[in-house]
Symmetry: C2
């Protein structure tokens, strides 16, 4: 699992980390049941504070991506409220579509972009989800 923090980004460290872990789960780099590095290890690995990693992990648990266990550490466990998750996805999709429409992209154009991104993901994924 490759994690890279962009110090020049306008996104907070914990947000970048959170999103990259979601990417890792989506691409099956990290699979359900597997553990992530401990908060201390990952913090030292990427050169940030322990509590920043802990914040990302906590939010990922709250949003239903992880299960935090003292025994095994942070384990991928996708048991979120699926309805709530899809609502959030719709909300974000709406934002993307709005920007696309502003640039005079049509429905076909946006579907094409979605297909490109999907292909990018499927190409990376080692096993079907």
């Amino acid at each position: 699992m490759i994690v890279r923090i962009d110090y020049n980004s306008d996104e907070a460290f914990y947000v970048q980390l959170k999103n990259q872990i979601i990417m890792g789960i989506a691409t099956a780099e990290i699979r359900e049941g597997e553990s992530l590095p401990s908060v201390r290890d990952l913090a030292e690995l990427i050169g940030i504070n322990m509590h920043t990693v802990n914040k990302a992990y906590s939010i990922l648990r709250q949003e239903g991506y992880l299960k935090l266990d003292r025994r095994k550490g942070a384990v991928v466990s996708l048991n979120a409220d699926r309805m709530r998750a899809i609502e959030e996805i719709r909300f974000q999709m709406k934002s993307v579509v709005a920007k696309a429409l502003c640039r005079d992209l049509g429905a076909q154009d946006i579907h094409k972009i979605l297909d490109d991104v999907l292909e990018e993901f499927y190409g990376v994924r080692s096993v079907e989800h």
Copy 2:
């Protein structure tokens, strides 16, 4: 143009405002050449500070959604670098797709969501873009 600030959101006021204006342009509630309320008016209308509105307007200009004119105020003017805009759209689309894949949504499911959102937009739009 309806603008609504969610005080409980984790998004900054100026980000919420920025996104809602983009939505307004996408749905053609505000059309190219039309003016938005002045920074002072909009600030008072939604109950936030003038500078917060000004920040949203400035960023929207920088990202190529508005043209700011002392005469006419903030005018919708979509003359952004299209390549750059589409890159940004792809980046955000990638984030959406990642979350969707984590919830075991397939390509068809995501295309369906996209279609729903598009229909929502087209339904609202008074004239073709």
